[in-house]
């Protein structure tokens, strides 16, 4: 088998090959990649399409009312109780997640030794990996009874317990994103401050945080978006009462819990109640998408060019 022979075989083969794979493969992959775009369109389409059916049957004034009783003999579809439930639980969650998350981020990125960081960071990751249903169970069977002992008037279903647990669930997200933002600040800036004799605290508050503020704010916005979209914790622990109330010791329902409640019972398709799900879904989608766009905008526009 000498060179000329191999050469001929290879040349023959390569002349035969019409490289159809190089023409068709990119198209196949593009087609599959477009599925993600199709999915987004699918989501938007189904939400809008069925919401239109809802809004064509329910006057806007009713939607803005506080009377939500979809199953009563005279159904009313006021969404304010749901918005109220979502926002109250979200605010409570943020009151827990932001301080603790920021503190953890500051500690891990500015104060902790690399060895300590190596041990602590994975633990935070574990917190982030726990399925939300587990948090829901925890909220209902442990946190609520505990809180009931501290606050006698607390209902078995209330907004406080899931709010706190949601906050705990979100801590790793705030911590890790803020930490990334703070670590992105160049070391020379940090060293510049410390070389002038500032304490770590001063370096952090006066140099690092201002420099990474856009990333930190973006992380908080993302966390809010996450809290708004959270379902199982609030479904289990906050209940399904459709009151419009600011009393967080009482039961209330979030937008996400409403959707779950209505699909797990069999809302007949084609009824207004069924379409109300999509209307609520649309509002939810707009909120979370909006927050995510805001977060992207913030981190892009105010990002320091290092």
């Amino acid at each position: 088998m000498d060179n000329k022979n191999i050469r001929d075989i290879i040349q023959q083969n390569i002349k035969k090959k019409n490289h159809f794979s190089d023409r068709i493969m990119p198209k196949i992959f593009l087609f599959m990649a477009l599925i993600s775009v199709v999915t987004t369109f699918g989501i938007v389409y189904t939400l809008i399409f069925d919401s239109i059916k809802f809004f064509s049957q329910v006057p806007i004034r009713e939607v803005f009312s506080t009377n939500l009783s979809p199953l009563s003999r005279e159904p009313s579809f006021g969404f304010l109780p749901l918005l109220n439930g979502t926002f109250l639980t979200t605010i409570i969650a943020m009151l827990v997640a932001v301080p603790v998350g920021m503190a953890a981020a500051i500690y891990l990125s500015q104060f902790a030794s690399p060895r300590l960081r190596k041990v602590l960071k994975p633990v935070l990751e574990v917190l982030a990996g726990i399925p939300t249903i587990v948090y829901g169970f925890f909220a209902y069977s442990f946190v609520t009874p505990l809180l009931m002992r501290l606050i006698p008037s607390l209902g078995a279903k209330n907004a406080l317990s899931p709010g706190i647990v949601m906050g705990i669930m979100i801590i790793p997200m705030v911590a890790s994103l803020s930490e990334d933002a703070m670590n992105a600040v160049p070391t020379i800036m940090k060293e510049g401050a410390m070389g002038l004799g500032s304490t770590r605290l001063e370096t952090t508050t006066k140099v690092i945080i201002p420099a990474s503020i856009s990333g930190i704010v973006a992380s908080i916005v993302l966390a809010v978006s996450r809290a708004i979209g959270e379902t199982m914790i609030v479904t289990i622990a906050s209940g399904s009462s459709k009151n419009f109330t600011f009393d967080i010791t009482q039961s209330m329902q979030t937008m996400t819990a409403y959707i779950v409640e209505f699909t797990s019972g069999d809302a007949g398709s084609g009824t207004v109640g069924y379409y109300s799900l999509y209307a609520v879904g649309l509002i939810l989608f707009v909120f979370t998408l909006g927050m995510n766009l805001v977060a992207q905008y913030i981190s892009r526009k105010y990002r320091e060019e290092y």
């Binding site: 390569i14 794979s21 196949i28 992959f29 593009l30 599959m32 990649a33 477009l34 599925i35 993600s36 999915t39 987004t40 699918g42 989501i43 189904t46 069925d50 603790v100 503190a103 953890a104 500690y107 104060f111 902790a112 602590l120 990996g129 726990i130 399925p131 939300t132 249903i133 587990v134 829901g136 169970f137 209902y140 069977s141 442990f142 801590i171 790793p172 800036m189 510049g192 002038l196 004799g197 500032s198 304490t199 770590r200 605290l201 006066k206 201002p210 420099a211 979209g229 289990i236 996400t256 959707i259 779950v260 699909t263 797990s264 989608f285 979370t288 998408l289 995510n292 992207q296 320091e304």
Partner: protein, 318 residues
């Protein structure tokens, strides 16, 4: 902004020290400085402890959570629990159906999401040119990643359940889940492909290979560990997700064990959900839920350990 801050800071210090030189006699100047410095240091240490406490707080909560759940499961998590079907009697109930359901679900999710995810990543990293299409796809992936899981449930309800008629079957649930975790696989696969060094591709092109041959024979084999890690992350997420399946209409009490992808089914998170809801009526359900959670967490732990092992053993650095 960065220069301003640093300069402000420097300026502040300069002015302070100048002021101190002019106004105070030498002796008390030293004392003044010492007091001020030690005050700042005390504040620093106090803050340091507050921050570390906060960090520890998160861990303490985790510890409490695990302890509560594990202690609730003692006595209820045993072989009988894993191998029995559901029953109205808590002592007899088991999650065999849920485990099988989860496995069936993964049998749909894994191939679908891997195929779509890797294909998308290959397109973005290897074939796409800078342009509108590439940007649109990237934006879509990152937006999909932030959509709440209930909304995926609504999508699945409309498209897979009703339009395509899959009802609340494993197929409907699997397809919905695949779309939910798709961004995870895409991002992981992209990183894995990007990590393949250019000189390997060059060597292949230099011998007259075309692009697809190079991808198939050189790039993909090298990026498999990274892609697998992404797949495991996606599976971990899909195993624990509840909301989309509830929205799809997965029923409460499934006695029958599924045998095909069009069958009804239940999974572990759904079991936990329904048992938790009914704890008021039947307190023992709390123990069943705890036991199921333990099984779920152990599964996740094993999955993530496998991912770490894959990463450490097989990931090539160049």
């Amino acid at each position: 902004m960065k220069d301003r801050n640093l300069e402000d800071f420097v300026l502040e210090e300069e002015v302070n020290s100048m002021n101190e030189k002019i106004e105070k006699p030498v002796k008390s100047q030293v004392t003044f400085n010492k007091n001020r410095i030690s005050r700042r240091i005390v504040l620093n240490n106090f803050a340091k402890h507050m921050f570390s406490l906060s960090t520890v707080f998160a861990m303490v909560v985790l510890g409490i959570l695990l302890y509560q759940i594990v202690s609730g499961s003692i006595g209820w998590l045993d072989w009988q629990f894993l191998t029995s079907n559901l029953s109205i009697f808590p002592e007899k109930a088991g999650i065999r159906g849920a485990i099988i359901g989860t496995l069936f679900l993964m049998m749909i999710v894994i191939p679908v999401t891997l195929l779509l995810g890797v294909a998308t990543a290959i397109y973005l990293e290897e074939y796409a040119t800078e342009g509108r299409i590439q940007r649109i796809i990237k934006v879509n992936i990152s937006n999909l990643a932030s959509v709440p899981s209930v909304i995926f449930g609504l999508l699945g309800l409309t498209v897979f359940s009703r339009m395509l008629g899959f009802g609340s079957s494993i197929l409907a649930g699997g397809l919905t889940m695949s779309l939910l975790v798709l961004p995870i696989v895409v991002v992981a696969a992209q990183e894995a492909l990007r990590a393949v060094p250019g000189f390997l591709r060059e060597a292949s092109y230099g011998m007259g290979a075309d692009k697809w041959t190079t991808i198939w024979r050189v790039v993909l084999p090298v990026s498999i560990p990274g892609i697998l890690t992404g797949a495991i992350l996606a599976i971990s997420r899909a195993i624990g997700e509840t909301a989309p399946l509830v929205v799809l209409g997965i029923p409460t009490l499934i006695m029958k064990i599924p045998t095909g992808i069009m069958d009804d089914f239940t999974v572990m998170p759904i079991q936990i959900y329904y048992w938790t809801l009914d704890t008021v009526l039947t307190p023992e359900y709390a123990y069943l839920a705890s036991a199921t959670i333990v099984v779920l967490l152990i599964t996740l732990f094993i999955l993530n350990s496998v991912a770490i092992i894959i990463r450490n053993k097989f990931q090539k650095t160049f």
